[in-house]
Amino acid sequence: MKRGFLLIAVSGALATGIVAAATQEEIGAKRAAVKALHDRLAPRVAPLLVSGSDVRAFVSLAPIVEGIAAIAATPPVTRTIRVQSTGANGKFWENGDWCHSFVELQSPDAFMATAELTNLVGSILDNGTIQVSTRALARGKAQMKFQFKGMRVRGPLGIGNVCPPGGGVGSSIGVGFDKDLDLVLQVALSRGPDARSVSYSAAFVSPEKVDVTAQIGLGALGTLGHPVSFPLPRTPLASGSFPLLFAQQGKFTLPGGATRAYSLALTPQSFVVNRTGVTATWKSAVQFR
């Protein structure tokens, strides 16, 4: 009789699913534990979530600024600007009172100046531009032709205004200058033309020109201080681009070893450069090739 009831009980259990009741309770308890954990973490996760974009890349610019300081430790030759003459551009100096005596380049390559960049300091501006400030120790020298035509002789009461006859006497003289000045170079960052890269463009922004006083040695006539102004090139010194963290092509290897190559068709969305770094977002469609 007892065995009969047992069989009936087992068959009933099979029919109603009571056998799995304990598991159902476990599921309920675990579900509650997961929900509690989820609720606890949700507020901390919220700032990390990205909506409306398929790809987002962020790069901090801080290490680049640190890297600039390291350039200062490289040999001077690697951080020296050179100015080399290629030809004369009229007279370097001319004086009417001295019967248009003049100084001009002795040969096309006779002028040379160097500016060693020291104390390189990097910083990031609010708009994300990388700024490199440096102290430049500028030194210049030139070999010039000095054509001395004599002093103009003026008579009493302004009558007569005579220069000695002839073309004067030519001699080779040295011209030199040195000056320490502050230079500022900026590297501007923007979205690259291929939509996934960052383009950069570097240019001097300050000063506009370098003013120096060239010391012209005129032999027996002494030394003449002559103001010279060098313009600093404002056009971009260099430009280029680098990719932002990911490549557009990848592959999906299926079980058995077959591969399907894919590429990401990117539609640029935002591109923000600020003190924190570069942040860019894209919408993307996957295309199999």
């Binding site: 065995r3 069989l7 009936i8 087992v10 068959s11 009933g12 099979l14 029919a15 699913g17 799995a20 598991t23 599921i27 675990k30 954990l37 901390r44 996760v45 990205v50 974009s53 398929d54 987002r56 890349a57 962020f58 790069v59 901090s60 801080a62 290490p63 890297g67 390291a70 350039i71 490289t74 030759v77 690697t78 020296t80 003459s85 290629t86 030809g87 004369a88 551009n89 007279k91 370097f92 380049l105 002028f111 030139a142 313009p231 090139p233 010194l237 260099a238 280029g240 680098f242 963290l245 990911f246 490549a247 990848g250 999906f252 290897t253 079980p255 399907r260 894919y262 990401l264 996957v286």
Partner: protein, 247 residues
């Protein structure tokens, strides 16, 4: 009396039929346990959220939409089931169902056996296993790893062929080969070169035409991805960037 009891059992079995509900519930419990473990791991990682995108950091986000687009490459994939002759699982689709910390992938699949005029729906749970491979060509590898595989079926006691097929499928041992549902490779860019090559720019000033020659300067940025977080919106890859200045 015993005969009568046996008859009642048989009747009950015939009326009730058989199903895989118990296995499906176990699958759900396993999944919840995995989710709990993942949430606890995520909680530890999120102790300092600010550090994830602070100074010297990089991050890359890939949305679930993008990942689903790649997973679509496995549509209509056929996988032979070892140990059950003539049986094949057809993967109709794979879709992310990311939860906090858990890169879950729902696999819509059916199992079919030669000679049996029935297809069984399969409840398959898979996960993306992200791995960052460093080296000269770093990449993020997302391996689709099958966690469990339960046929979803109800059958009567006289549908012995279906019952046998379900039993065979339930006994399938998930080997590494069977667990592998593919691997997605997302190549990463580790180099951030900022090169200013040596240039020569013409200038002119009183008495002189000249060239200004600026030296080559370079900043070699290097990215090292180290961590992948799974959030409901997608995968978030975090790492560090360092830069070395010089020629």
């Amino acid at each position: 009396m015993v005969r009568m009891s046996l008859a009642v059992v048989c009747c009950a079995l015939v009326l009730a039929g058989c199903d895989t509900d118990k296995q499906l519930r176990q699958q759900e419990l396993d999944l919840l346990q995995a989710e709990e473990k993942a949430l606890l791991a995520l909680e530890a990682t999120l102790e300092d959220v600010q550090k994830l995108e602070g100074n010297g950091r990089v991050s890359l986000f890939l949305s679930t939409g993008l990942i689903n687009g790649i997973l679509a490459g496995a549509s209509d994939l056929k996988v032979a089931v070892p140990g059950v002759e003539g049986t094949e699982v057809l993967v109709k689709s794979m879709q992310t169902e990311f939860r906090l910390g858990l890169p879950l992938v729902r696999v819509e699949a059916t199992a079919a056996k030669k000679g049996l005029d029935a297809k069984l729906e399969v409840s398959a749970v898979a996960r993306l296993e992200p791995t960052i491979l460093s080296g000269p060509s770093p990449k993020l590898v997302l391996r689709v790893h099958l966690d469990s595989f339960v046929p979803r079926a109800k059958w009567g006691i006289f549908d012995w062929r279906i019952g046998g097929f379900v039993r065979d499928l339930s006994r399938v041992k998930l080997t590494e080969e069977l667990r592998n549902l593919g691997a997605i490779e997302v190549p990463l860019e580790a180099e951030l070169p900022l090169n200013l090559p040596a240039t020569s720019t013409p200038i002119s000033f009183t008495g002189v035409h000249a060239n200004v020659q600026t030296p080559a300067l370079s900043l070699a940025g290097k990215v090292a991805a180290s961590q992948v977080l799974t959030l409901p919106d997608g995968l978030h890859v975090y790492g560090a960037v360092s830069a070395k200045g010089g020629k």
